[in-house]
């Protein structure tokens, strides 16, 4: 009898996530929809890949040395992933978090050992980025992996997510992923294009509530340095209500409990699947719904009203 493998560390279980057919969701029998379940990573999100890759790269380059503190702006998943890696590798971590993220995420960050610094809720993720950059400038002893500008982020998706998808399927027509830092779309997109030159790389993008868009000028907007928008073939805006409808459908039809961005990805994937006569649409579902259980949107008819004051992804 052959023994099952035992991983030397939880970090060795990052990636190699399962792919599953979404047969009951597909609008027509000639179009396959396949989901990559990133919620099955050790801390429950795709960001485990990014966190491990950024810390590995910084240790290899010598930039990150024992005892140095880590700082990162994050509304949740990246912080939780970094907190796991930081704890196992012995670095203290501070996360800059918009004050209005869900309680589960704050609690998880603390349980994994991170310290939290709140950024103004009305400034959304942009505000967390701004404050973290200020703090890093004030204290040069802190190392900021900064997922928005760190090449290890898209590289983790080129070598991991993208390669795993490209080697599992014989045909891929569309890749749909949520747009946040752009890491998944850039890295996995580049890798898929190598195997499937005509693949359409499609971003699902959140339409933020008015409350979190800030009150300052458009010039305060932020485009992550790792994001090259010209590499995207489609960019679809998804409302909070559409995202929640998408995640309800995913749960009802396929039994998959996804997070808010997964709902948005499903909404976009169905729109794109409807445009195809035949083909394969791959959806990257970044996390599960567990960290959103306390959110008010599950039990209300006014989904937009319940969501407009918070950052969801």
């Amino acid at each position: 009898m052959r023994l099952a493998a035992v991983a030397p560390s939880l970090l060795d279980l990052v990636g190699s996530t399962p792919l599953v057919e979404l047969q009951r969701l597909s609008p027509k029998p000639t179009v396959r929809i396949v989901a990559k379940l990133e919620g099955q990573n050790p801390t429950g999100s795709i960001k485990d890949r990014v966190a491990r890759a950024m810390i590995d790269a910084a240790e290899e380059s010598g930039e990150l040395t024992p005892g140095r503190g880590l700082l990162e702006p994050t509304s949740g998943n990246t912080g939780i992933s970094l907190a796991l890696v930081a704890r196992l590798r012995g670095y203290p971590l501070t996360c800059v978090v918009p004050a209005n993220v869900t309680e589960e995420r704050r609690r998880l960050l603390r349980l994994y050992g991170a310290e939290l610094v709140d950024s103004p809720p009305e400034e959304g993720s942009n505000g967390a980025v701004r404050l973290a950059l200020e703090l890093a400038e004030r204290d040069p002893s802190l190392f900021m992996p900064f997922q928005y500008a760190n090449d290890a982020n898209p590289r983790a998706h080129y070598e991991g997510t993208g390669t795993e998808i490209a080697t599992a399927l014989e045909r891929i027509d569309v890749l749909v992923a949520g747009l946040g830092t752009g890491g998944t779309l850039m890295g996995a997109g580049d890798r898929l294009r190598e195997s499937f030159p005509d693949v359409v790389i499609a971003a699902a993008e959140p339409l933020p509530g008015d409350e979190v868009m800030g009150l300052r000028s458009l010039a305060d907007g932020y485009v992550p340095p790792i994001l090259d928008v010209s590499k995207l073939d489609r960019k679809l805006l998804v409302t909070n209500a559409e995202s929640v409808a998408g995640l309800r459908l995913l749960l009802e039809r396929e039994g998959i409990f996804g997070g808010v961005s997964s709902g948005a990805v499903i909404h976009a994937a169905l729109r794109l699947a409807n445009e195809l006569d035949e083909g394969v649409v791959v959806c990257v579902l970044a996390d599960g719904g567990w960290k959103y259980l306390s959110a008010k949107f599950w039990d209300t008819d006014d989904v937009e009203g319940a969501m407009e004051r918070s950052v969801w992804w």
Binding site: S45, K47, T74, S75, G76, N77, T78, G124, S125, N126, V129, Q147, Y148, G178, L179, G180, T181, G182, G183, E205, P206, L207, P208, D210, M213, G214, L215, R216, S217, L218, A219, D220, G221, Y222, V223, P224, V229, L232, D233, R234, K235, L236, L237, V238, S261, A286, D287, V311, W312, W313
Partner: protein, 90 residues
């Protein structure tokens, strides 16, 4: 006529409106129409004759940069959304 949703950051420039009607056969024409009526919008939306890099314009829920940019045709009753580029990424 197309309906254009105005983000909170620009509402002061248009007298507080959340949504405006505007005329034009292309995205560029619709924006020109708005800028003629509310000149303060011009500097916020445009940069050297192009859409400013921190501004995203969506037609029927799709970013017009992925289509024909300012030349993207606009139909009667279409919905446009103006948004600042936002960081996300969780």
């Amino acid at each position: 006529m197309a309906a254009v949703r105005i983000p909170p950051t620009l509402r002061a420039e248009v007298g507080g409106s959340r949504e405006l009607e505007a005329r034009g056969d292309t995205v560029g024409d619709v924006i020109d129409d708005l800028v003629q009526r509310y000149p303060a919008l011009g500097a916020q939306l445009m940069q050297d004759g192009e859409l400013a890099s921190f501004v995203n314009v969506y037609l029927a829920g799709e970013d017009v940069r992925m289509r024909d940019g300012l030349d993207t045709p606009v139909g009667e009753g279409d919905h446009l959304i103006l948004l600042p580029a936002m960081a996300g990424g969780v």
